[in-house]
Structure formats: structure tokens, C-alpha cells
Amino acid sequence: MSEYLVDIKNERLSFFTPAGEVKALNDVSIQLKEGEVLGIVGESGSGKSVTAYSLMGLTAHPGKLLGGSLIFNGHQIDQMSEKEMRKIRGNEISIIFQDPMTSLNPVYTIGNQIMEAVLFHTDKNRAQARERARELLELVGINEPDKRLKQYPHELSGGMRQRVMIAIALACEPKLLIADEPTTALDVTIQAQILELMMSLKERLGMAIIMITHDLGVVASMCERIAVMYAGKVVEYGTAEDIFYNPRHQYTKGLIRSIPRIDTREHERLVPIEGTPVDMLNPPKGCPFAPRCEACMKICLREMPPVTSFGEVHYTQCWLNQKEEMEKGAANE
């Protein structure tokens, strides 16, 4: 058995659209130990959600897993049938979605929707399931749980609904919670509350979290490990310290430069990353970031860069890093 809770190796996944094959994931490898928090950052379409969904077997049509190995908690996810997956989903691995306003079924009560997960995965009877739902609502900090159980989603605010989504996700005490941009649709004060809640629940229940976001601030405050994705590849992977204090990939550097800082002087401008995201239908032959990269070399346009490691965890996929490391190695000799 793997020492990791999540062990994704060389995952390749494509969407076969009428316009052609979109290579959404290209050789993605991600590891996560029990109880760890991993942040996946990247712009829209970089493959961060697709990675997480494929781990739950929720890849949307017309997506297809083409290769690689996905192991979760000892289960070989890529080999499992839909029926076997159903036993894991909502039980050992749960997810909360971006938009709490639309993620709850409008015609059923909150209680019904929380109980559904409990009833499905445990042999509790209805009364016990209701009691569990009540507990869960208390756990996620919702007041008057007995009243809330009987209410419908439209009677709750956005922040409350996201708490309910978290309650549903935690119904069976999962080993892994995937949070797919859980705060994007909420306003800032509520965002902070939800993140705080997630961290305190993590401490209490000891689950691992995969946090998908494009908000580097969220990642910085929560995550132990960070994967930076670009065009279906993990371009840089490391601990929070590596990524924020010693970023090596040009894309990561660009991302960090573009964060507004509290100590910015009045007329200093934010530095954007020039150019536009990759057209995933016609990806460039070499490094996907090369056309936008300030330090682009000839080889970057021709060939995919290999992995360059800096120590145990931290690695990038970048020709420049490869060159620097080789020069350093040569100088040392």
C-alpha cells in the first residue's frame, strides 16, 4: 500500500469535443498524505477541477481518462466500476462546490439533503440519520439546527448554504475533502468564516483537504503543499514556503508578482502576466507557457521541459530551471 492517501501518477485526461481533442490533463502527478492540505492553483481551464473530479470518478461527458494511475486510500480509482465508486463518493471522499446557491436541490429540505448521504452510506435508520444531520449542522456552526433541518435552501443565505454543503460533505467523516473554489461565490467576510470553519474542522476530524482555487491568498493561509497548474500540467510543486518564498517557475513568479500587497506604495502598479491563456485545442508543441514567458528560450518552443527537482518536494517543469541546475552542477564539479 502506498504511503500516500492520494497518489496520482502521470494522469492523462482528454475531452473529446466536436471541435477536437482537448488535452485537459497532461502527465499530472500529485501526492497527498493523510491530514495534509494541498492547494491547487491555476487559471480557469488549467485542469485543477478536472484533476479533482477525476479522483471522484465524476469526470463530465465527453471526458476520458487516457492513462496514468489514480490511487486513493488504497483504492485503484481508475480501475473501479461506477458501482464501486458510489460507495466511496460522499463517504471516504467528499466535495464542496463553488456556488452554494445552485448546489442544493431547491425542492427538498436541508434535513432531507443531509440525511440522504447518511442514509446512503451507513445503516442508520431515519431517526438516527436526522440526529446525525442535526449534529452536523451544529458542527458547521449553524444556529437553531432543528429549525434549519425543516427549511428549504432558498430560505438560507449563501454563507449558510455553503455551511450546509460542508455538512453534507462531512456526513460520513471523509478522509479527503475536495473544496472546489468554495469561497469564490461568497462575499469577503463570509469567505474568511468559511475558510476558518474548514480549517477548524480539519483539525478536529483529521481529514486531508484538496483546496482548488485561483486565490493565492487562500492557499497561503491554509495549504501545506501547493501545486501550480498551467494548461493541464503541474508546472511547479512544493511546500507553501517553496512556492511563496522561493518560486522557480516563471509562471509562479508572475502569479506572485501579480498579487496586490499591503506594503505596495501608492503609485506602484501591479504586474500582470502578459498574453492570453493557451488555446487547449491547439496547444503549443513545447512548454505551454513559453509564448507568455519572459525568459523563453529556443528549446522551450520545441520541446516539453523535463522535471527539475530542488530537494525532496519542490520541483518544476521548466527548461530555464533545468539549465540553471545543470550549470550549478557543472560549477560545483
Binding site: 463518493r89 463517504n91 467528499s94 456556488d99 448546489s103 436541490n105 431547491p106 425542492v107
Partner: protein
């Protein structure tokens, strides 16, 4: 809820009054009268008949008399069917039409909802195309064509089913099929499009992420949300269908209310025109109130005010 129903009843009375008034004056504007026929009747006889039924009075006075009687539940005698009151005719003919119509709505729901859902689930596949073609035909082909085809094949060629009257359950098959064709097709299309919409909703993904099985997701989470447009359509459609179809009743010689509508108009049977129109209007209003209440039950977001 009670306040809402009271309000709707008040509104219904106003609507029915308006329908009755408009119908009354419109039908009197149409040339001709109930006592014109190919056989020449003496002017004295016509005058006597008109005096008997009050048709010699000025129109506003006739209107007031009619409305006053109607308010007291008296819809008058039929002008053409001697010795029968309008109420008698409706009481006798409506149950026949209601049975045939009710059955066909039931058939339409039982076939339309599952097939529409299946088409949505198999979007773009062969089954979806097949169902869509059938649905389009069902909407485009007029009922007399369907009646004729049914009669010809099932009745005449294969001799499977009787073609006239309503003496046994076998007699119901063809008229019910013919009547249900259009609503079935319509419900299929409604169901397909609303199901497609629901299947793409975020809460379906949530349900799947909880590990709920495919069938349960469909029945519990999708169907209840997708069925709302069908509820809207079925209410008024039921009112129309249970009051009978002229074409289908004529072709299968069913003694229903649908035929009475048309013969009353062509015969200028004023009292019967008024009676059947008010009856249909009332039925439609009642169905709409029922639809609103069902809506509230299916979708808790809806507030009845």
C-alpha cells in the same frame, strides 16, 4: 392558502361574468336565429316561439333576464332540443366526454413523461431522435387524420376493435388513443427540454457526489424539478380534453359534450351556447387554481399570494 383560494374564487366570478357577457352579445351579433330552418315556418309560429323563449324582447333585457336566472342556477331550456334544460344536457353528456378525455390525459402523462425523460437522458442518441420525430408528428398531424388511420387499420383492416359507440372497454381504445396523441407528444417535448435543463444543474452534481445511485438521482432529484412545466400544461389541457373533442366524438359516434358545443353554435341554440361556454370557462379556472396549488406542493419556493 385559504385567503389565496378566496381571492381566486372572487377573481373567477369576475372572469366568468366577463366570458358570459362577451359570449352573449357576440352570439346575438351573428346573423340567423334558432328557429330558421329549411322548412318554411309561418311568421306567426316563429313569433310565438320567440315570445315563448323571450327572444322578442330587446337584447339588454334578454341579457339581464338570462344573467339573473343564471345567477340562480337556471340556465334555461335548450332552444333546439325540446323538453331538455341546458343543465340536463350537460349532466348527460359531460360524464361521457370526461371518461374518454380523462383516460386520454392519463395515457398522455404515463407515456409522455417517461419517454420525454428517456429522450433527455439519451440526448443525441438514436432513441432521442426517434422520440423527437414521433413527438413532432404527434403535434403536427391533426386528430381527424389519426382517427381515420386508427379506424382504417385497427377497425376495418384488422377488425380488432369496434368502430362505433361506447358499449365496452374496447370501444374506448381508439378514441382515447386519438385524443391522447397530441398531449402525449406535447408532454414528451416539454419533459425532454425541462429534463435536459435539470440534468445540467449543479445540484445534480451534488447528488452524484454524495454517492446516490443513478436511478435515485433521476427519480428523486431530477423528476420533481423537471415536472413543473408539465403541471402547468396539464391543468388547462385537462379542462379542454374532458369537455370533449368535436372531431373525435363525431368520428367514433360518441355522445359527448364536444359535439354539443359545435351543434349548439351552428344551430344558434343560444341557451346551450351560453351554458356550455360558462361550463368550460369554469372548468378551466378551477383547473388553474388546482395547478397553482399543485405547484406550491411540488416547488416550495413558490409563494401563493
Amino acid at each position: 392558502m385559504l385567503k389565496y383560494i378566496a381571492k381566486r374564487i372572487g377573481l373567477a366570478i369576475v372572469t366568468i361574468w366577463a366570458v358570459a357577457t362577451i359570449t352573449f352579445f357576440l352570439m346575438n351579433m351573428v346573423p340567423g336565429g334558432p328557429f330558421l330552418s329549411e322548412k318554411a315556418i309561418s311568421p306567426q309560429a316563429t313569433a310565438a316561439l320567440e315570445a315563448k323563449y323571450g327572444l322578442d324582447k330587446p337584447l339588454p333585457q334578454q341579457y339581464i333576464t338570462y344573467m339573473w336566472d343564471a345567477l340562480h342556477g337556471d340556465f334555461g331550456d335548450s332552444l333546439k332540443q325540446r323538453g331538455r334544460t341546458v343543465m340536463d344536457i350537460i349532466k348527460m353528456k359531460f360524464p361521457v366526454s370526461a371518461r374518454v378525455g380523462g383516460l386520454s390525459v392519463l395515457v398522455a402523462l404515463l407515456i409522455g413523461i417517461p419517454l420525454g425523460s428517456i429522450a433527455a437522458l439519451k440526448r443525441g442518441k438514436f432513441l432521442d431522435s426517434l422520440i423527437s420525430v414521433v413527438a413532432t408528428c404527434g403535434i403536427a398531424v391533426p386528430s381527424f387524420v389519426i382517427c381515420t388511420l386508427l379506424l382504417y387499420f385497427l377497425g376495418v383492416k384488422l377488425r380488432l376493435l369496434p368502430t362505433i359507440g361506447l358499449s365496452s372497454w374496447k370501444n374506448y381504445v381508439m378514441p382515447v388513443l386519438a385524443l391522447s396523441f397530441y398531449p402525449t407528444a406535447y408532454i414528451m417535448r416539454l419533459m425532454r427540454s425541462s429534463m435536459l435543463d435539470v440534468l445540467g444543474q449543479d445540484y445534480m452534481r451534488t447528488a452524484k457526489a454524495k454517492g446516490v445511485s443513478g436511478i435515485l438521482i433521476l427519480f428523486k432529484h431530477a423528476l420533481r424539478n423537471a415536472i413543473l412545466p408539465v403541471v402547468t400544461y396539464v391543468g388547462p389541457m385537462l379542462a379542454y380534453t374532458v369537455t370533449g373533442s368535436f372531431v373525435v366524438e363525431k368520428i367514433f359516434t360518441i355522445p359527448g359534450l364536444g359535439g354539443e358545443f359545435i351543434t349548439a353554435i351552428s344551430g344558434r341554440d343560444y341557451t346551450l351556447i351560453m351554458g356550455t361556454t360558462i361550463f368550460l370557462a369554469t372548468l378551466i379556472i378551477v383547473m388553474n387554481v388546482i395547478v397553482d396549488i399543485v405547484y406550491k406542493i411540488v416547488d416550495p419556493r413558490i409563494k401563493l399570494k
